[in-house]
Symmetry: C2
Subunit: 85 residues, 2 copies
């Protein structure tokens, strides 16, 4: 059985990962990313990549999984920013 | 002395926290947040709040600090989105 602490951490990880989907869908729908900061998203991608490395170091599958998916989402936003501007 | 693992985790936390500043400055400069997803930022704020709760549970000062500052930044973006649209 997971503890209450593990459940809170898992829900936190799930929310901060899936949270990116509405932003991706909005950019795709509007074909515009003018107000999105490229610097913010490139920095987030770098930082989240380091979280994946950290997860590999400490052998935490939740940290590796959540941040790998988040990295994929943020890389998508960077790609859309470069495409739609 | 911090270990290499702790240093990687700390740099990751620092980057994914400070990454939000260019987005805040951009919205302030452009007076526009039209392309920013409100749903994404409200969800991120909720999820990051749960990360703070998780940090309190496990007694991790880095998790508490990094996520408290991130929560402040994302709450600022939510406020700007509501103001500038």
């Amino acid at each position: 059985m997971p503890t209450a602490i593990e459940i809170v951490g898992s829900i936190a990880a799930l929310i901060t990962t899936l949270a990116w989907l509405p932003q991706i869908l909005k950019i795709r729908r509007d074909r515009s990313a003018a107000d999105i900061s490229l610097a913010t998203n490139v920095a987030l991608a770098s930082g989240v990549f380091l979280w994946v490395v950290y997860g590999l170091f400490i052998g935490s599958l939740p940290v590796i999984l959540a941040n790998s998916v988040t990295l994929l989402f943020i890389a998508t936003i960077v790609g859309m920013k470069l495409r739609y501007g």
